[in-house]
Structure formats: C-alpha cells, structure tokens
C-alpha cells in the first residue's frame, strides 16, 4: 500500500539541496517565498479596488490582459500600515494554477539555503498565525519568515485572525 502523498510545504520533504528564496519586507519583518513559485516581480501600478472584498484584497490588476488579484499581506496579518514607496513591489506567484499578486514593501535579495536550515514553527509569531508559516530561517541577527502561499492565496479569512470589526460595520471601500 502506498502512503498518502506528503503535503509539499517543503518541511515534510527532507532535502539537502539548496533552494533559492526571494526575501522581502513587510512592515519591517523579513519574509521569503521559494523562487520557483515567483513568476515575476512588478512595480506597483494602478490597482483597481474590488467592492465587497475583504480588506486585505488590495484589488485587481491587469497583467497583460489577465485579471490578477493582489493581496496586501500587511493587512492580512494586521501589521502596521506602511505607505507605498518607490520600492514597493507586487510579487506575482503561481500556486496550483492560481496566479496571485502579493503587495510587499521591498524586495531585499535572493537567498540560497538548504531546507535543513528551516526551523519549524510552533505557535503564532507576532500577528502571523502558525498555519501561514512554513517555517523560520534564523540568520545572524535576522529572522526570515517562510510564508505558506497556498494558505494565503484565498479570500477566506474566517480562520485567519479574529475579526476585530463588528460584522455589521460596512467594509471600507476606498481610502
């Protein structure tokens, strides 16, 4: 009998080869995603707001004729807001046929490290729930969060964080 396929979160598969990771910042926190999931990195252009959407859906963009949702990870994790700057970027990632853009403050660098360097996460860190993290990379004085893009590529926020807003309060649209 064959065993069920392990979830390809990266943790369950022991691997010694070095993978490449795109490191970026979110309100000062360093986070990373595997480079093979990143299709491209865009400068932030016009983002069209989508009414009735959860707050953390920043909006939708036109990527060469395709409509791509853009998620603001800071809003998702209820991190302090940071104004958009020249360095703000949209990371276009592809997860299981789904193309999603993630708004980040700054793309820092591409790092290479083996999967053995990844430490498991027990509980939530700051405002980030453990289910959104594939692990942590401690480096010198840095701590890099490895994000689980699959869990983040959804608008289903019921499980994410307790919603501090009362449900009757209309969702804000526009700034």
């Amino acid at each position: 009998m064959s065993l069920p396929k392990p979830e390809t979160t990266g943790l369950s598969k022991p691997e010694t080869t070095q993978a490449q990771w795109v490191v970026f910042t979110l309100a000062g926190c360093e986070s990373a995603v595997a480079i093979r999931q990143v299709r491209e990195i865009l400068r932030v252009g016009e983002i069209t707001r989508m009414p009735k959407a959860p707050l953390f859906l920043e909006g939708i963009i036109n990527l060469r004729g395709k409509i791509i949702p853009v998620i603001d990870l800071k809003k998702r994790f209820q991190m302090p807001p940071v104004d958009r700057t020249e360095e703000s970027r949209i990371l276009i990632v592809e997860i299981q046929d789904q193309i999603v853009g993630f708004l980040v403050d700054k793309v820092v660098e591409v790092l290479r490290f083996s999967k053995t360097a990844i430490e498991a996460v027990q509980g939530p860190i700051l405002t980030v729930g453990a289910e959104f993290l594939d692990g942590l990379i401690p480096m010198d004085r840095r701590l890099i969060f490895l994000l689980n893009l699959k869990k983040l590529s959804t608008l289903d926020d019921a499980k994410a964080l307790p919603d501090p807003h009362s449900p009757t309060e209309a969702r804000n649209f526009g700034h």
Partner: protein
C-alpha cells in the same frame, strides 16, 4: 504530432461515433425498418474498430468486431432486429463509452467488462460466434470535389435565355497586383463597375467573399451584358491596382461543358488568356476548398484572447490620436478599425458550434429515463444546426439535462394516465433551438400534465417559502414561477431521476449566470414549456459603462431596459424601501454604492435629478441609482479566477481602452445580497428589542 495528440483526436472522434451510434440505435428501436440507421450503426462500429486497432486498444477492437459480426445479418436483411439485441447493443455502447472515458485519463484499458459484453452479443445472434470475418465497410460517397466554373442546370438555363435575348456572356478573370493593400476596396469597385454594365451571373469565389477581399490573387466573374468585351476590360482595368483583366466571350455551348476536373491543365479556366496566372488561381482556390481541419479549442481561446487584446490596443491608439488631434492617423486607424472588427467577427464565427453537439446525447438519455419510469416518450428535436459560441454551449448543457429530466419525470404522465385523459399514450417532448438576432432561444415543451398553480401555491406555503397572503395575491403565472425557487418540488417523493426537484432551480440559476433569461409557461393538463434565451457569445458583449464614486463598472446591455432621470417627485418610500414610479409601475430603487457596499457620501446634483437604470433581474425589475452613465461600448469579458469568484456580484471584468479595469456587475446577486443583509439587520434589531440586551460596542 506526438502520441498524446493522436489520442486526443481518437477520443474526440470516438465520442462522436458513439454519440452517432446511440442516436441511430434510438431511431432504430422506434422504427426497425430504418435501413439507413442500420448502415450508420454498422459504419460507425467499423470505423471505431479501425481507430481502436490503430491505437492498440485491444478490448475495444474485440468488442466492436463482435458488434459488427452480430449486425452483419441485420444489415444484409437476413435477420431482423430484436428489442433484446437493441438493449444488448446499448450495453456495448455504454462499455465503449466507459473505456473512452478511462482513456481520457490513462493510456490503457482493462478487459474488465469485455467478456460479459461479448457473451451478451454471442447470445443475441445465432451467427454471433461464427468466423466473424470483418465485413467490408459500406462505401462512403466521396466528397464532391469542388467544381470549377461549372454551371448548374438552372444557371445554364438562365444564361442561355439571356443570349437568346441578345445579351452576351463574358467570363472576366481579374487579378490584383500582389502588393495591393485595399483588396476589398478594389474588388468592390470592380463589382460595382460590372453591375453598372450588366449582371453578374456567377463568380468565384462568391460575391460576398470577393467584397470582403477573401480571395488570393484574383477572382472570376461571369457577366451577362450588352456591353462589348473591350468595354468590360476597361471597366475592370480602370480600377487602380488591377494587374490583369482578361475578358472572354462565352458561347452557350461553352456553358454546356461538364464540370472541370481537378487535373487543371487545359481545363475550362485555362482556356482564358493567361494560362500561368489562371492556373495559379485555380491552385489557390482549390487550397481554400480543403474540407476541414481539427483545431484544439485552447488554440481558439488563445486566438480570441489575442484579438481582444488587439481591440483594446486599437481603442488606445484611437484615444491617443483623438486627444492629440493627429489627423494623419485617422485614415490608417479607420482601416485598422475595419480589419480588427472583421477579424473579431471571423474568430467569433469559428468558435461557433452547432447545438447538435449537446443535443446529440439527449435521445439516448430520454429513452433510458422513460424506460426506467415505464413511460413512453418521443423526443422531437428541431434546430440542431443552430450555432452558438462554444462557451455558452458548455454552460447550456447542464440546464437542458435538468429540464429534460424534469419533463420526463414530472411532466409526462404514465401511459395509463395518458390514455384515461384521452391523450396519445406516447408523450412528446419537443426540444427546439432557434436563432433570433444575437440570441439563441431553446425551448423544451412537453404535452404532459402541466403545472397546477393551486398545488404550487399550497406547496410553497407548506414549505414556508411564501405566506398564504402572498400566494393569494399572485396570478397563476406568478405562482407557477415559484417552482424555480430553491428547494421546491411538486412531487412528494424525491425520485432518483430528478433528485429533490432541484432541477428547475439549478437550471434557472445556470441560465441566468451566463446572462440568459429563463421563462416557464404551463397549462394544467396540457403541458409545460421552458424557454431559455442565451446570448450568442460570452466573449464580447455590449455593455453600459456607469460610474459610481471614482470607479467605472460595466452592466450588460441585455439586462438594461432603459435609463431615466428621476426627480424627487417621482420617488416613493414604501416600507423603508425606496422606489420610483415609472409609468404607473412601482420599481424598487437601490443605490449602486449601497449594493457595492461603498461608503455612503452625498450624491445627486443640486437639481435633485438622479440617474437611474431600469434593469431586469430575473423576473422582476429593479432600478439602480448610479452617479453617471459614461457610455455604451463593446467589451471583451475577462473571467475572474477562482479566488475572485468567491466575491459575489461580479460576472467578470473587462479592460477599458485606458488600460483600466472595469468590473462587470451581476445585478441579480448584488440585489439578493443587499436584501439578505437588510433582512439580517432588521432581525438582529428585533432580537435586540426583545431581549433589551446591551448593544454590542
């Protein structure tokens, strides 16, 4: 081409043949004397055998081989077709379909099911286990090779009549210079000149094709006229960029020459002046005549997407040219406009497919259903050749299945009941497709028991869907519409076939989701008709662009009845619901910003006039207040992906000429959601009043 592509072709073709087999067998079952149906079955089985052998799908080869062997004596007329054999053949077809489905996901099939099918077949025909030699296929008539400048009996008649009347017949071969840019313009000029001098009796290609520039280098006209050959030559040659215009007088005996064979040399055409150029034209035209090629649908989708991009870029060019007042660009841009329009049109046409594609599986489905329920049902189909965009066709299939099941299950009575009512024990279901402008109308009618509005009223009250007061106020028509409410069923016991009566509800939702319209008509005791209207295409639609706050949204024009400016005097508030009074009709009014849950800020200008769209939502009308109507234009619909589909109220998005995105509104869901929200708010308010609980802060 790799083996995967071969398999794709095999699967598509096998499905087609199986669907043919099923339909022919249903026909044959009703009328065993249908010789053509037997031949068709035999042919299809034989072809399937050959195809499977090529692909090495052994179990399929063996089964189809045996089917052929059993069918042979029936085809040759030495044996008649028994109902038992029909049933067995249906079992075999199901087995073959099962294998085809399996092959879609893997590259081999198991023998499972083969033996039992073979045994059934062997038990059916006495000679079934004979040598089973492969019989020769019935020869298929060769496709008519395209005759070149041949005249039908009729055409010849008319032309000969004309010569008797003193007119002459000329054949004019025109060739445009190879670098001609405005082919269709030149061609149009030539046609116009010819029409001024006489009558074009025939042309290759057809006149409409010539006018569109659909020819390679040139074209041929046959003109009946009183002008001379020289006059005609000048009339054609005077048009710019004409490289050659050869005029030849045709005698009635020339017309009598039989159709030219494909071995071009020395043929009718080449009798014309320039042999070399004429024969190249023949070759090109023959190339056009190639029957069909198979193209994967994803390639067509890609092509369509590219054309949509092209249209958007074109609009941007036009906008730049307009704002910068670049007059030199206006000519090339109008040419570009013309070309993109036509390109879009042509690609749309390529994507059209006959509804036959989905109708074809219904005869078998209805037969099986009727059999399970011990009913006798005839399915009559009409308009299977009507064409629709592929995507609409795909969306249409499920509602039709639900409604047909509904008709067999709930509509048609059993034969005894029908006999008691004085009806033909055979019930009839008519499935009809017809084209009306840019819509396709599909109707499904049965001559069954019809819907009793009083039963529906009672049932709806019992189920708590409406109050007795409400039903009392309803007309019979309105009451009948209640059956499309979610969870409604007129039959008490949920049958295996139509589930819990979810059919009508699901069908209605599906039809409306693609921008279609759903109607029910029914007369108690006489039958029920479902009418479905579908847009011809989902790819490009006409939409009204409206502004709400800073954003622009698109609303399909098919959903809009009119736009009106409303004064405060025309507004009413009924039970806290804003409404407008339009020609004595009270229409509920919703501000678009509230539907979209955008923050409420002051709207309306000082005059107090409000811009309101009257839209049709399902069966009822709804007025939408918008900030401004921006304009009407054709928009290319971009689908929203899985993630965004979770947000209700939008059927897609489009990219405007400015590159900005406009969401396409699904007014129906937006209104439903708002009603829900208001209802919830009201209820929580009532609960609060009841318990005097502290307001949640």
């Amino acid at each position: 081409m790799n083996s995967g592509e071969y398999k794709e072709i095999f699967l598509t073709e096998a499905r087609e043949y199986l669907s043919n087999l099923n339909n022919s067998l249903v026909l044959l079952e009703k009328d065993p004397s249908q010789v053509e149906a037997i031949r068709e079955i035999f042919r299809a089985a034989h072809t399937l055998k050959g195809m499977s052998a090529t692909m090495g799908y052994d179990p399929m080869v063996r089964l189809t081989h045996q089917m052929e062997a059993v069918l042979e004596p029936i085809r040759s007329g030495t044996q008649s077709l028994s109902t038992r054999l029909v049933d067995i053949l249906f079992v075999c077809l199901d087995q073959l379909s099962k294998w085809v489905d399996v092959l879609a996901n893997q590259d081999f099939i198991e023998e499972e099911g083969l033996q039992s099918a073979l045994q059934l077949l062997a038990s059916a025909g006495q000679e079934g286990n004979g040598p089973g030699m492969a019989p020769a296929p019935v020869p298929v008539s060769p496709t008519a090779s395209q005759a070149f400048l041949s005249f039908s009996e009729n055409e010849r008649e008319v032309l000969i009549q004309a010569t008797r009347g003193g007119l002459a017949i000329y054949k004019i071969a025109v060739e445009l210079s190879p670098d001609c840019v405005f082919k269709e313009v030149r061609a149009f000029m030539i046609l116009k000149n010819m029409n001024e001098r006489g009558e074009i009796a025939k042309s290759i290609p057809a006149p409409e094709e010539i006018e569109k520039g659909h020819f390679s280098k040139g074209f041929i006209l046959v003109v009946v006229t009183d002008s001379t050959a020289e006059q005609l030559r000048q009339a054609a040659g005077s048009v710019a960029e004409v490289a050659m215009a050869e005029v030849e007088n045709l005698k009635p005996e020339d017309l009598a020459t039989p159709p030219v064979t494909e071995q071009g040399e020395g043929s009718g055409m080449a009798q014309g002046g320039s042999k070399a150029s004429a024969s190249t034209m023949v070759a090109d035209d023959r190339h056009f005549a190639l029957p069909t090629i198979r193209v994967h649908t994803s390639k067509l989708d890609k092509l369509m997407a590219l054309v949509q991009e092209l249209v958007i870029s074109k609009i941007r060019f036009e906008q730049v040219a307009n704002t910068k007042a670049l007059r030199e660009l206006s000519d090339p841009l109008s040419q570009l406009h013309h070309i993109t329009d036509e390109l879009q049109d042509e690609i749309m046409k390529v994507r059209l497919m006959p509804v036959k594609q989905i109708f074809d599986r219904f005869p078998r489905m209805v037969r099986d259903l009727a059999r399970n329920l011990n009913k006798q049902v005839d399915l009559e189909m009409d308009g299977a050749e009507v064409e629709l965009d592929r995507t609409v066709l795909e969306e249409m299939s499920e509602p039709l299945v639900h409604l047909l099941r509904n008709a067999v299950d709930h509509g048609i009575e059993d034969p005894e009941a029908r006999a008691r009512e004085g009806k033909d024990p055979y019930g009839t279901i008519r499935l009809q497709a017809k084209r009306e402008k840019s819509q396709v109308i599909i109707s499904i009618s049965d001559d069954g028991r019809g819907i009793d509005p009083d039963v529906v009223r009672q049932k709806a009250v019992d189920k708590g869907l409406v109050t007795p007061d409400e039903t009392a106020k309803m007309t019979d028509e309105e009451a009948i519409r209640l059956i499309s409410l979610p969870g409604f069923s007129t039959v008490d016991s949920a049958t295996e076939i139509s589930g819990r009566g979810v059919g009508v509800d699901v069908a209605k939702t599906k039809v409306e989701a693609v921008g279609g319209v759903f109607r029910i008509q029914s007369k108690k005791g006489q039958g029920t008709t479902f009418i479905l209207r579908f847009p011809l295409t989902l790819a490009i639609i006409k939409a009204l662009l409206v502004r709400c706050k800073a954003e622009v949204f698109a609303i399909p024009v098919v959903n809009i009845i009119e736009t009106v400016d409303v004064t405060p005097a025309e507004k009413r508030t009924i039970q806290q619901q804003e409404a407008i009074l339009l020609r004595e009709e009270v229409i509920p009014l919703y501000p678009l910003q509230e539907l979209l849950e955008m923050p409420d800020t002051e709207t309306g200008d000082a005059s107090g006039l409000e811009t309101v769209l009257i839209t049709e939502v399902g069966e009822s009308r709804v007025a939408l207040r918008v900030d401004e109507v921006v304009g009407q234009q054709e928009i290319a619909i971009k689908p929203l992906d899985r993630l965004l589909k979770g947000i209700r109220g939008f059927s897609g998005a489009t990219i405007l000429g400015s590159g900005k995105i406009a969401l396409i509104l699904d007014v129906n869901s937006l209104v439903e959601d708002l009603k829900d929200k208001r209802f919830q708010a009201e209820r929580s308010l009532m609960e609060k009043d009841d318990t005097h609980a502290d307001p949640h802060s």
